[in-house]
């Protein structure tokens, strides 16, 4: 049911973990649905995402979308990162089963939330 690329990311997920003193953290999902994704970002002076990590509780699709979004966003600047949509994440994986689309929606949302978190932290300074 999953594409080879989904299984590849599920088996060898990229950028698993946490970033201490991350510039932004975004969490989406809830336990009722069975998925919680958290994305951490570290950004340099030029607004380029230098480092990104994730931790996810969820199914194969949830883990693979988290992993692939970190790969897609690393080295991008914030504006480019905001252009990553849920749809693009799913496409990057060669598609997801229909009933899994709500999971693929989460990874880009988590990233966008992390960016929001970063911006609101900056505004407080």
């Amino acid at each position: 049911m999953y594409t080879g690329k989904v299984m590849e990311h599920f088996t060898n997920p990229r950028n698993v973990g946490e970033i201490e003193n991350a510039d932004g953290v975004g969490e989406v999902g809830n336990m009722k649905c069975g998925d919680i994704m958290r994305i951490y970002i570290k950004v340099n002076d030029q607004d380029v995402i230098e480092d990104v990590k994730f931790r996810t509780f969820g199914c194969g699709a949830a883990i693979a979308t988290s992993s692939v979004v970190t790969e897609m966003v690393k080295g991008k600047n914030l504006d480019e990162a905001l252009e990553i949509t849920n749809k693009k994440v799913a496409e990057e994986l060669g598609g997801l089963p229909e009933n899994k689309m709500h999971c693929s929606n989460l990874a880009a949302d988590a990233l966008h939330k992390a960016i929001e978190d970063l911006k609101s932290k900056r505004n407080q300074k």
Partner: protein, 389 residues
Amino acid sequence: MKKTYLDHGATTQVNPDVLEVMLPFLGEFYGNPSSIHSFGRETKKALEEAREKVAAGIGAEPREIVFTSGGTESDNIAIRGVARALQKKGNHLITSAVEHHAVLDACLALKKEGYELTVLPVDEYGMVSAKDVEAAITDKTILISIMMANNEVGTVMPVAEIGKLARERGITFHTDAVQAIGLLPLDVNDLSCDLLSLSAHKFYGPKGVGILYVRKGAKLDVFNFGGAQERRMRPGTENVPGIIGMAKAVEVVVADREKRAARISSLRDKLIQGLLKIEDTKLNGHPEQRLPGNVNVSVKYVEGESMILSLDLKGIAASSGSACTSGSLDPSHVLIAMGLDHQLAHGSLRMTLGTDNTEEEIDYVLEVMPEIVARLRSMSSVYTGSKKE
């Protein structure tokens, strides 16, 4: 890679002896049992012999056996049929929160049509209490449907006791015994049931064929119309090869039930004990009143589908009650009815053992499981770390 099948609750492999008796009916014996010529007479004879075998296997009379297309159809014919036939007598139905959807959703559909429905709760082990059944009975109760053993957590229900309660009060009692046959002693008279559902593919028979036992005198309305087959309760040309195979399967599983159940139970206990050695795991279902082949554990901090996928990569077939494997957004209604929180329900893992499993396979599962759990926990957003560190 060596493959290990631990999903006998979903379906089983056709027994070689079963396959052998089926083959002639996919080839040379193709007559329609309703035809009066020699072709028809041949298959009709085989069909009636199959009926006798099935009846003998469950303590019934041949004419109390109705061949159906499987467990789902048996459940629906029984529940809708009784509700409609006994409408004048009353409108109250009793079932439990942990029934298979074939029973639960059939009852909920009747509720929408105006019947009164009591869905009994279960305890933390998934057990229905006979006392609760008794307390729920009113003078309007026409049907009680409680499964013999639960398909997800393996809990064995006090159906003989419930059957007795129903019998004393003249209430029709149906039990879904799909998971029980060949593993638990099963005799329709000991159970005092009026209706009982079975499905061939769960006991080493072919898919798409089942049985509804209908006690002599039980009243059922019908919803499908057509020919006079199966005393009009299930009209349509019979699945002859399937029925022939199913009858053989009944014979096989009933004959060596005790020996097989004992062997499977000991593998089950070894698997349960091994899995519970993994930190933060919990057994779902009853510790003793449990189907011989059922193992169901919740692994904290990990989601079920990701465990299934990881096991599959190691050649091991298992299942889960997580929402992500069910194709719906909700986790197993059985685990939720037992009071599990959402995390534990999503983190459930079901392994159902069968005739073909070996001790080496159990050792293999217990060897790979700790690594799988550790890997998934290391990625988990809710994991708080090992207590041992």
